[in-house]
Symmetry: C2
Subunit: 192 residues, 2 copies
């Protein structure tokens, strides 16, 4: 599948709707990398402008890829091989464009996205087209309007069975991968 994923720690809102850089969470890396590999995602970009946080990701990934972790937990090593630290969304888009020979379509996710949204079945059809697609997730209280305006499409929010709508980004990513990328024979080709 030609699907790439980025988790943005900037620019995102905090509870007071101020634009902030959020902190990395160790478990976001592990959980989303494992789900990404399970569903055939090509790359999982961890995006932050903070140099010390980027170094932290590098160290964590190196531990699990090459260090003691790789030996004890080979299934984590495989998942963490998808993880790429990046300083900005622009850098992610440039990297995918270089890898795939064309700019990816940007599909943003969010619990409170309004306006024209793409349904899951429409988004799944886009995945099947095989053109590079970049799925964007926000931390904190969600991606800023600036990011929403850069995107080509907004994915419809996940509906559970009531109005409560506060999944962790880890849970939301797992559900979205399952809905968009779950087993279909025709989806199993090798990416760009």
């Amino acid at each position: 599948m030609n699907v790439h994923v980025a988790l943005l720690h900037y620019p995102v809102y905090n509870r007071q709707h101020q634009v902030i850089v959020s902190s990395m969470t160790n478990l976001d890396i592990h959980d989303i990398a494992r789900a990404a590999l399970t569903y055939g995602v090509q790359r999982f970009y961890m995006v932050t402008p903070l140099e010390d946080q980027l170094q932290l990701i590098q160290r964590l990934v190196a531990h699990w890829r090459e260090g003691h972790g790789a030996y004890r937990h080979p299934e984590r090593k495989m998942a963490l091989e998808l993880v790429v630290p990046a300083t900005s969304l622009t850098e992610v888009v440039e990297s995918i464009t270089l890898d795939c020979g064309q700019k990816p379509e940007l599909l943003v996710t969010g619990a409170s996205l309004a306006g024209p949204t793409l349904s899951f079945s429409e988004a799944r059809k886009k995945v099947l087209l095989g053109r590079p697609l970049l799925l964007l997730f926000g931390t904190g209280w969600g991606l800023t309007n600036e990011v929403l305006e850069m995107a080509d499409h907004r994915l419809a929010p996940i509906q559970g069975s009531n109005d409560y709508n506060h999944l962790s980004v880890r849970s939301a990513a797992a559900i979205i991968f399952d809905r968009l990328l779950g087993t279909k024979k025709e989806m199993l080709d090798a990416g760009c």
Copy 2:
């Protein structure tokens, strides 16, 4: 919906297939409680025989229900109201039986369940029947054979888009809730 969830920290296997008590993970409580509330689960039982771990859950839940956390994060308070500490699976079954007037059917989950399994659409039909259903998740390297033998049904493992099959229990729970309990008007009644 008449669906209840339990996360077992005993009896589960470790990597060497020995029966152990696993440690609680703070984020399991938060992530699974938030997903459970999103999908209309009645109760989320955190099961461990260890007294200090049970007290830890009590303290954590009290902080978010009544303490500073409740004020700052009302959406977490709502989710943590589903959390019930329990010392054993037997205690969970007795508690649901008392609440609902009948014993729940036990449906176990696991990444490597073999033999006769229930497909997701068959399991979804069971949910719609409205009889009490207890969905069991294991930590560590999975629920022991003893638990599997107590269960009425085994849920088919989640298939992603390849053979890699190492989702975190948080991701697996989110996907299973979405597949079994996702929005359908007829599923929105109030439990037992």
